[in-house]
């Protein structure tokens, strides 16, 4: 076990834990943002540099500070390490710079982007960026590419996090897409506009932090914050899929199906394309209850779930709210994760 001090908070974690995961054990506002790191994907991380932190003391044995900021998602902790994130002016400054870099070639088309509302870049920019730009040049643009019947690639929005590449490495026998080109001309592609077709290809949509890979069965159908997430499962015949998903309702209609994500937007169990794209009737599913969205996302802003399960609090609610609740009863009152 290693004892780490993160922004003044001490935590004990198993050896080999990364700084980011140690911070996630503490949780809350001190957790560094991560745009490319994705826990279930081996090899991911280190690329976006959003999670850079300052190591003020390397370890108990060698308490010198590290000369450069380090990527917290890939740097393992040492016993006695002291890490500064929100307490370091330098880190916050650099993070502003990273937001700026990620945005100079990003189209800022959030009003028409399906990802808006659950976009990691949107959240990141909102929390850490500045509201003006110093970039005057033309932005990099690409034509939209259809990769197969279900997925649309809009490379213009891509921030080259490589998550979708690692997903294919991990879930399929032979990856057919990757990063082509170099520098700011790099792009995700299938070379000769191949289709990405395998039973788990849809998961690249879930791992994409921005709106570069979108669900063609959902494109432009609904803003995410107007939909209501509900956990559900079905008896999926696919051997690698256990059919545990989140359904996104608008009224009585299932608008889309995604894998279940945790508070950091990470999928814990991959789902197959049949569950994701072809089962869009409530009758296909066994409903478990509302899904809890615990991120600084606009979905949470419009959430219908009561925040705390406490009889006293419910009793103290203003009469108007009670009337509202009586008229439009939620699927289930209270409760975490349904």
């Amino acid at each position: 076990m290693a004892k780490v001090t993160f922004d003044g908070i001490e935590v004990e974690v198993p050896d080999g834990t990364t700084i980011l995961n140690a911070a996630r054990i503490i949780g809350g506002g001190i957790v560094p943002p991560a745009m490319c790191y994705y826990t279930p994907l081996k090899g991911s991380g280190g690329k976006c540099r959003a999670c850079l932190v300052r190591v003020a003391a390397g370890s108990a044995k060698d308490p010198r500070p590290m000369p450069k900021l380090v990527a917290s998602c890939i740097t393992p902790v040492q016993d006695g390490m002291v890490v500064e994130n929100t307490t370091s002016e330098q880190v916050l400054d650099v993070r502003k710079g990273i937001v700026e870099m990620l945005l100079i070639n990003h189209p800022l088309d959030c009003p028409v982007c399906d990802q808006a509302g659950e976009c990691d870049l949107q959240n990141f920019a909102f929390e850490h960026g500045v509201s003006t730009t110093r970039y005057e040049e033309e932005r990099r643009t690409f034509e939209k590419i259809d990769i197969g019947p279900y997925i649309q690639l809009h490379m213009t929005r891509c921030i080259l996090c490589y998550r979708c590449v690692y997903t294919a490495d991990q879930l399929t026998e032979a990856r057919v897409h990757g990063v082509l080109g170099r520098g700011d001309a790099s792009e995700i592609g299938t070379y000769i506009e191949n289709t990405i077709s395998n039973d788990f290809s849809g998961n690249v949509i879930d791992v994409c932090p921005v709106g570069a890979l979108t669900d063609k069965t959902y494109r432009f159908k609904q803003r995410v914050w107007f939909t209501k997430p509900v956990n559900a499962h079905r008896d999926c015949q696919h051997e690698k899929c256990n059919g545990r998903v989140t359904l996104w309702y608008k009224g009585q209609d299932v608008m889309r199906v995604t894998a279940r994500k945790d508070e950091y937007g990470e999928v814990k169990e991959w789902i197959c394309n049949e569950c994701r794209f072809e089962k869009k009737e409530t009758a296909d599913w066994v409903i478990e209850g509302p899904a809890h969205i615990d991120r600084s996302s606009v979905i949470a802003q419009n959430h219908y779930e009561l925040p705390v399960v406490n009889a006293q609090i419910i009793a103290d609610l203003p009469e108007s709210t009670m009337r509202e609740l009586a008229l439009n009863p939620p699927l289930k009152l209270g409760g975490l994760n349904g």
Partner: protein, 446 residues
């Protein structure tokens, strides 16, 4: 005339063949190492020599070798980084094409010291003709029993391969080089783990520059202590400098470290002064990625001492008034050089060569190039000058590999020392963009 340890016989007819090379003392170092020394003794000699890596970073080579992890039953590798592609640096190409056996000899001794049974020379793809020279030399070395099974009856076996890159500057970064050698896209790896622990095929690996490995040969022939007497302070031995730009005699010079910069530029023995009788304006002393210095600061340090061609003296004053020795790509610019155009040109190179893996470098290098293009072509504004300094600062230190710094340093240094010239491009765009326009204070000559 200083001592020449690497290039003493470089102009001998037929030195690229093993017969002539051996007539001039070739493969003595390998015989000495394999017959009379243990691998650890070879490492010790290199440590004693104080040799610092010649690829740019200047890390002590003996120390790098001693860091190599040596787990039981796991192969180790020595890889030679011959992906020389820094603008201004062309010493390794010369060394390999003229003296292929010197590199091979250094690699055999190095592989023996590290316990590597397979070693690779990763050569820049554009140098195909050098690759052929090396392959021919390797075949000769196999035939003469210096490579292959049981070398010189010592029981030590080594296979040596040459592998060409596909034309990417980034593959000169050691972990990108290893990725490329493994047949993957040449993206630098996240560190740790360092190559000394997990390098090629996830095995312990040492990556050394061509000139560093070649220098092992004179170190073993002379002995580490004797080698350390050459040079000045912690800059021991001799170093190849590839001098280019506005010089009377550009070319590759082997010098003893510690030679005054002034002597190197103006002495007839070396570069012979600035061409066409012009005055020196600025020097990039170690390849395009190191900070540029104006004439006053390259000849004398800020404290007024003579600046020497050594790691310490060139680095004197940090990045405020100093620079780096880097890889020895010495670019001299005369008084007619436009610093803004030159900086834009360097930026264009780094923009083109960024691998695009991490965001500050991928986006920042392109941004720098675009703003510098604007400034050079007379469309810039005064706050563009602060903008490029700020963008360079956002890249520097925040990237996966040193390419980010290599892109940021020249820009920051150019503005630091030649800000008035940048401002002149903004305030006098018509004059500045006229063909042949030269900035000399406020005076414009066409």
């Amino acid at each position: 005339m200083g001592r020449k340890l690497l290039t003493e016989h470089i102009n001998v007819e037929g030195i690229e063949t093993i017969e002539v090379y051996r007539q001039h003392g070739g493969y003595r170092a390998v015989e000495k190492a394999l017959k009379t020394m243990t691998p650890d003794e070879v490492v010790d000699e290199v440590k004693k020599s104080g040799l610092r890596g010649r690829g740019g970073a200047g890390f002590p080579m003996g120390m790098k070798w001693s860091f190599l992890a040596k787990p039981e039953g796991v192969p180790r590798y020595l890889v030679c980084n011959a992906d020389e592609s820094e603008p201004g640096t062309f010493k390794d190409r010369y060394l390999m094409s003229k003296l292929p056996h010197l590199l091979i000899e250094g690699m055999i001794a190095g592989s023996y010291a590290l316990g590597a049974r397979t070693s690779y020379i990763y050569i820049r793809g554009e140098l195909l003709y050098v690759l052929r020279i090396l392959e021919k030399a390797i075949a000769e070395a196999y035939a003469a029993g210096f490579l292959g099974e049981n070398i010189l009856g010592s029981g030590y076996s080594l296979d040596l391969y040459v592998h060409p890159g596909a034309g990417a500057y980034i593959c000169g970064e050691e972990t990108a080089l290893l990725e490329s050698l493994e047949g993957k896209r040449g993206n630098p790896r996240n560190k740790p783990p360092f190559p000394a622990v997990q390098g090629l095929y996830a095995r312990p690996t040492v990556v050394n520059n061509v000139e560093s490995l070649a220098a092992v040969v004179p170190i073993l022939n002379l002995g580490g202590d004797e080698y350390a007497k050459i040079g000045v302070g912690k800059s021991t031995g001799t170093k190849l400098f590839s001098a280019c730009g506005h010089l009377n005699k550009p070319g590759i010079y082997e010098i003893e470290l510690g030679l005054p910069v002034e002597e190197f530029i103006y002495s007839d023995e070396y570069c012979g002064g600035i061409w066409k009788g012009r005055a020196l304006k600025a020097v990039v002393a170690g390849g395009s990625s190191v900070p540029i210095l104006p004439k006053d600061l390259i000849l004398k340090t800020a404290a007024g001492e003579n600046r020497l061609m050594s790691y310490e003296s060139l680095g004197d004053g940090g990045f405020v008034t100093g620079t780096m020795l880097g890889s020895g790509g010495f670019i001299a610019m005369d008084e007619t050089t436009c610093i803004v155009k030159n900086t834009w040109n360097f930026s264009r190179f780094y923009h083109h060569e960024s691998c695009g893996q991490c965001s500050p470098c991928r986006e920042g290098t392109g941004w720098l190039e675009k703003v510098l293009h604007r400034l050079e072509h007379g469309h810039g504004s005064l706050h563009d000058i602060d903008l490029i300094v700020s963008v360079a600062k956002q890249i520097e230190g925040n990237t996966i590999c040193p390419l980010g710094e290599a892109a940021a340093w020249p820009v920051a240094a150019a503005v630091r020392h030649f800000r008035d010239e940048f401002e002149w491009h903004v305030t006098h765009p018509q004059e500045a963009t006229r063909p042949g326009a030269v900035y000399r204070g406020n005076l414009v000559l066409a």
